[in-house]
C-alpha cells in the first residue's frame, strides 16, 4: 500500500494540520517508507489472536454521583490564550 501527496493532504486535514509543499513532499516519502516497513506485520498469521490495547486489566473508576466544587475560574483561565467574561474566547463559528 503506498500513499500519494493527495492522501497526505487528506490525512493532514483530518489531523487539523496545514502542511507546506515541502512538508507534503517530505512526509509522503517518509510515511511511505514507514508504512512499507510496517507491512512486515503481514508476515504473521494473527487469525484468532486477541488484540492487546493495554497490558493491565482496566475497569472504570466510579465515585458517588455527588456535586463537588469545581476548579476556580481564574485557575481554569490562567493559561487561556484569550478569555472574556470568564469564558474561553474563540473566533465566531457562525458568520
Amino acid at each position: 500500500m503506498s500513499i500519494a501527496a493527495k492522501d497526505v493532504e487528506h490525512v493532514a486535514n483530518l489531523a487539523r494540520l496545514t502542511l507546506t509543499d515541502d512538508e507534503k513532499e517530505q512526509f509522503t516519502g517518509q510515511l511511505n517508507a514507514i508504512l512499507k516497513y510496517a507491512e512486515k506485520l503481514n508476515e504473521l498469521d494473527t487469525a484468532g489472536v486477541e488484540p492487546t490495547s493495554h497490558v493491565l486489566p482496566l475497569s472504570n473508576v466510579m465515585r458517588e454521583d455527588a456535586p463537588k466544587a469545581s476548579l476556580p475560574i481564574e485557575k481554569v483561565l490562567r493559561n487561556a490564550p484569550e478569555a472574556e467574561d470568564d469564558q474561553f474566547k474563540v473566533p465566531a463559528v457562525l458568520e
Binding site: 496545514t18 502542511l19 506485520l41 476548579l71 490564550p81 473566533p91
Partner: protein, 483 residues
C-alpha cells in the same frame, strides 16, 4: 569528591550528622549547572530561587521526621507538570504553559522532601530517540559533546551524568529512560506499566508511557522508586498492588537466579563491542551463582513496526487536545475556528510530532484501521506472550539496552526509520509492560554501554536485586565523564 558521587545513604548520614546542609547541596547543584550547562544544555527552566528558599527552610526547621529523599536536588523531565514551574514538553506549543497543579510524582517527591531544581530538556512531547527534536535547544552527551545524550529523556540523563542534580525523573514510552541512561553511563529504571501514577504526565502514548528514575547507582534508584510508586485513584491505569520494600531487596545475593539471554537482542545490527560487554556481564552474574542460558523472543523483529503504529495512533489522539483554545500558543489572525486549530497546531508542533500525528491519523482512519492499528494490537499480544513464556523458565531476561553507543549529533536526523531501529532492545519490553533497568556495564571506544535487565510484571525487587549485585562486583557505575 563531588557531593553527587556519594550514595544516597551516605548523603543522608552527612546531613544527619550536620556535616552537610541542604543549602550546601542545593548550592552545589546550582553551581554545577552554571559551570556545565552551557556545554550540556540539559535545563529548560531553573528554579534556583525556589530551591534555595526551600533548602533554607529545611535546614532551619531541622525536621526530625525526614523523608526518603530528604534534601536531595532533583531534576524533572519537562513533560511532568509542576505547579508554578513552566512545563513545555520542549514544544513551542507549550512555551507559555504554567501548570495549575502538580503531577502525582511531583507531589510524592515533595512528600519525600527532595528539592526540585528545574525542568529538563527532552524530545518534543517525548517523541524521539536522540533529544534532537526539542523545540528549544540541543542537549549534548557529557561523555562526548559531539554526541547525542539519547532520547527522549536526554536532559534527565545528561543532568545526572554531568553531576548537576542528585537524581532526575524521566518518562519511558519505548525506551526513553533506559536508552539515554545507557548512552550517558547512568542507571535508568522503567517500572512495570501502572506501578507509578501517570497523573500529570503529558500523555504521548497512554498505554505505554511510564515515569521512572534516573540515578547514578541502583541503590538510589530503589529509593526514588520507593518514593514515587503506588496506587493513584486519579489515574485509571494505576495498578492497585502492594508496594514492597525495594531497598530491602538489595541483598547482593543472586545465587540460583535463572537468567534468560535474549538471543534476538544480540543478533544482527548489534555493535560487537556492545555484545562483548554484555557477555562479560553474564560472566559476572555467573560468578555470583546465577545461571543463564539463551532464550528466544521470536517476535522481536516485529516490535518496532508494532510500536510505531500503536504509539503514533495514541499520540494522534492525545495531541488532539492541543488546539490553541484553552492553553498553549494560539496562532495570530485566524480566519475562523477551524483555521485557528490548524494554524496553531501547524506553527506549534515540530516535524517529528507532525510526522507521528500523521502516521497515527492514517493508521486509525477508516479503511486502514484493521490493516494497521488492529493488526499491531494483535502482534502486541504475540510479543507479550513471548515474555510470558520466557518468564515461565527464567526470573530475568538480560540483553543490551541499545545496539550501539551514543551516535553523533545530526547523524540520523534525516532518516526517521533508522533512528527508530535504535530502539529494538527496549521497545518489546514497553509493549509487554514489564519492568527493566539499564545499568552501566563498561565502555566501548570510551563511551558507556548499558546492560538491560528485564523482570516479571511488578517484580522490580528482583530486577533491582540483580542490578545491585552486578554493580557490587564492578566499578562501571563509578565512571564519570570529564567535563
Amino acid at each position: 569528591m563531588s557531593l553527587f558521587n556519594l550514595r544516597l545513604s551516605e548523603v543522608h548520614d552527612r546531613l544527619h550528622h550536620r556535616d552537610l546542609s541542604v543549602q550546601e547541596l542545593v548550592e552545589a547543584s546550582v553551581a554545577r549547572i552554571s559551570e556545565t550547562d552551557t556545554k550540556i544544555g540539559a535545563f529548560l527552566t531553573l528554579n534556583e530561587e525556589g530551591a534555595l528558599a526551600q533548602a533554607k527552610d529545611m535546614d532551619a526547621s531541622g525536621a526530625a521526621e525526614r523523608g526518603l529523599l530528604y534534601g536531595l536536588p532533583a531534576g524533572v523531565k519537562d513533560n511532568i507538570v509542576t505547579e508554578g514551574l513552566r512545563t513545555t514538553c520542549a514544544s513551542q506549543f507549550l512555551s507559555n504553559y504554567d501548570p495549575i497543579y502538580d503531577a502525582t510524582v511531583v507531589e510524592k517527591l515533595k512528600a519525600a522532601q527532595s528539592v526540585t531544581i528545574g525542568k529538563l530538556n527532552m524530545d518534543e512531547f517525548a517523541m524521539g530517540g536522540s533529544n534532537e527534536n526539542s523545540s528549544f535547544q540541543l542537549t549534548r552527551n557529557p561523555w562526548d559533546t559531539d554526541r547525542v545524550p539519547g532520547g527522549s529523556s536526554g536532559g534527565s540523563a545528561a543532568s545526572v551524568a554531568a553531576g548537576q542534580v542528585y537524581f532526575s525523573l524521566g518518562s519511558d514510552t519505548g525506551g526513553s529512560i533506559r536508552q539515554p541512561a545507557a548512552y550517558c553511563g547512568i542507571v535508568g529504571l522503567k517500572p512495570t506499566y501502572g506501578l507509578v501514577s501517570r497523573y500529570g504526565l503529558v500523555a504521548f502514548a497512554s498505554s505505554l508511557d511510564q515515569i521512572g528514575p534516573l540515578t547514578k547507582n541502583v541503590e538510589d534508584s530503589a529509593y526514588v522508586l520507593q518514593a514515587i510508586a503506588g496506587h493513584d485513584k486519579r489515574d485509571t491505569t494505576s495498578a492497585n498492588v502492594e508496594i514492597p520494600d525495594y531497598t530491602a531487596a538489595l541483598t547482593g545475593d543472586i545465587k540460583g537466579l535463572r537468567i534468560g539471554v535474549a538471543k534476538e537482542y544480540l543478533g544482527e545490527g548489534i555493535d560487537p563491542q556492545v555484545k562483548e560487554r554484555v557477555m562479560e556481564a553474564l560472566k559476572t552474574f555467573e560468578s555470583l551463582g546465577a545461571v543463564w542460558e539463551e532464550v528466544s523472543l521470536p517476535h522481536t523483529d516485529y516490535a518496532i513496526a508494532t510500536y510505531y503504529l500503536l504509539a503514533s495512533s495514541e499520540a494522534s489522539s492525545n495531541l488532539a487536545r492541543f488546539d490553541g483554545v484553552r492553553y498553549g500558543v494560539r496562532a495570530e489572525d485566524p480566519a475562523n475556528l477551524l483555521d485557528l486549530y490548524k494554524k496553531s497546531r501547524s506553527e506549534g508542533f515540530g516535524p517529528e510530532v507532525k510526522r507521528r500525528i500523521m502516521l497515527g491519523t492514517y493508521a486509525l482512519s477508516s479503511g486502514y484501521y484493521d490493516a494497521y492499528y488492529k493488526k499491531a494490537q494483535q502482534v502486541r499480544t504475540l510479543i507479550k506472550r513471548d515474555f510470558d513464556q520466557a518468564f515461565e523458565r527464567f526470573d530475568l531476561i538480560v540483553g543490551p539496552t541499545a545496539p550501539t553507543t551514543a551516535f553523533r549529533i545530526g547523524e540520523q536526523v534525516g532518516d526517521p526509520l533508522t533512528m527508530y531501529l535504535n530502539d529494538i532492545c527496549t521497545i518489546p519490553v514497553s509493549l509487554a509492560g514489564v519492568p527493566a533497568i539499564s545499568v552501566p556495564c563498561g565502555l566501548a571506544d570510551g563511551l558507556p554501554v548499558g546492560l538491560q535487565i528485564i523482570g516479571k510484571p511488578f517484580d522490580e525487587s528482583t530486577v533491582l536485586r540483580a542490578a545491585h549485585a552486578f554493580e557490587g562486583m564492578t566499578e562501571f557505575h563509578k565512571l564519570r565523564p570529564a567535563l
